[in-house]
Symmetry: C2
Subunit: 305 residues, 2 copies
């Protein structure tokens, strides 16, 4: 396969994880924000994956990415081991307890973009804000139609200034409810999201796990319940596939207006609802775009009044 | 005012409360499930209030009820003091810590219905399931178009059998998320709601506070976000006014089909969102039906995609 042009690019992590949930325990799960993101976003469009792995990165996992229209020419392999995260979900399936984080080759990651034609849609997955900025600086901002970024509590406390720079440069920031409150010190989600809009992004997307999501713009508001799921098996990757469905849909439709962004949020929601029904990528490997479209319509029907 | 016929009746409590929230502390707040319910439901239709108070019940509070088309002919006054609840919201504005409950005349409450023409819509607010059954038994079930019931953790643990009898006799049961899980022992809300449907009610309504609500029928599902509120001042009465808006809307439209029930849930949602913006009934006293209709349309617009 050759990938002369990918409309969507993602920079983030590719990892080998260990996950424990009330439903079981699994070692060497294929994980990482950019893996989850690109695997589902590629159901909608070609995706360029910008990330790093170590020499130990399993060939089997590379093959999983190659199943889909994912351009791996920006997936660097460096000497050392692949980034690894280990976490546990106890009572609260909405947030994991991190048991260990081995950054390994991620510490050496220095993204260098060599696109023949620059992608128009960019997702800065959860990664050091300095790296997010480094990627942004290598892009011609005028050719970017829509840039969204994710982050986490660790960067909010340890790299706040750099994160605020990211916020001032993106179209949308994706945060969970805890991060939204942490970033602003405001307990009420709507009030917190309004504060974040003042930090620069055109849109704030607040993910509330099983409670759905909220989209706030300068003059726009949208609230969306989660897609109801009877059994949450493993929530890992839910946020990344939410973003993947969201950005994939935007790049697919080639639009960025409010109506399309709302639909994209719904597509992200149903994508995440599939992810949580098995370990790692196992559940999303079984679906195609028409599955997601069907669930999208179902979500539309159960929200309508 | 004379009330020859009320299409809607509520049995529940009328109380004098003490409430403490992060925004302040207030004694002698006019409270009780039936007070909150009837005050907002009467924006839509005439409401018969079936409850008990003590001789100390302030004339000022009776006058508040008399501001609206509320039939007080079933509001008994007994020797002794009025039921009183005292509670505190600390970090979690979704659930109160009960500081004290003085049942007083509520212990002597023995509802006797003497309607010239029986209401068609009935709400069994949070009260001893034995009393809920006593009221139901005095009604001609064939003349009732829609009966809904509320309950609380205390009755789920102390009067489970009687509560299950109530469940088998009503069209809808209204529970919060904690009660839904407690009643079934099931942690997943959708799975829990499905179990409750098997206990008899045609509809289960799960209230999730700031996270919205869910409606489950035998073959129907509806999910609704909360109406976003920037400042939650006092959540007391939110559930009762949610039910009041819901039942009031049903009685007003004279319908009970799925489409109307979904709209009624949205009306309950916006009614509750007003309630929480001040202590007790203070916020809802300032609104009329057209305020609610406007908020209803706004909720519709921020949920649509």
């Amino acid at each position: 396969m050759s990938f002369p042009y990918s409309p969507l690019a993602v920079v983030g992590t590719v990892a080998v994880d260990a996950v424990e949930t009330p439903h079981g325990k699994r070692d060497k799960v294929f994980g990482g924000s950019a893996s989850y993101f690109s695997y589902v976003a590629s159901l909608f469009t070609k995706v360029a994956l910008v990330a790093v792995v170590g020499e130990d990165f399993p060939q089997a996992y590379r093959k999983i990415l190659q199943e889909r229209p994912i351009d791996l020419s920006h997936l660097q392999t460096l000497k050392g081991k692949t980034f690894s995260w280990s976490g546990k979900y106890v009572d609260d399936m909405n947030s994991a307890q991190t048991l260990s984080t081995d950054l390994n080759t991620l510490l050496l990651f220095n993204p260098e973009l060599k696109f023949k034609k620059q992608p128009e849609y960019l997702f800065l997955a959860n990664i050091d804000p300095d790296l997010q900025l480094k990627v942004l600086h290598q892009m011609d901002r005028k050719k970017l139609k829509f840039v969204a970024a994710d982050t986490m509590n660790f960067w909010i406390s340890s790299k706040r200034d750099q994160l605020l720079k990211v916020l001032s440069k993106v179209d949308a920031i994706v945060l969970n409810d805890g991060e939204t409150k942490m970033l602003t010190g405001e307990k009420n989600l709507l009030a917190a999201a309004k504060q974040i809009i003042k930090m620069g992004p055109r849109w704030v997307i607040v993910k509330k796990g099983e409670h759905g999501s909220m989209l706030l713009g300068k003059n726009e508001l949208f609230t969306l319940p989660a897609y109801p799921v009877e059994k949450v098996f493993d929530p890992t990757g839910a946020g990344d596939t939410f973003a993947g469905g969201f950005m994939g849909y935007l790049a697919w439709t080639k639009k960025t207006d409010f109506a399309t962004i709302k639909q994209a949020l719904a597509m992200g929601t149903v994508t995440a609802s599939v992810t949580v029904q098995d370990f790692g990528l196992d559940a999303v490997r079984k679906i195609n775009r028409s599955h997601l479209t069907k669930k999208f319509k179902h979500l539309q029907s159960i929200c309508k009044f």
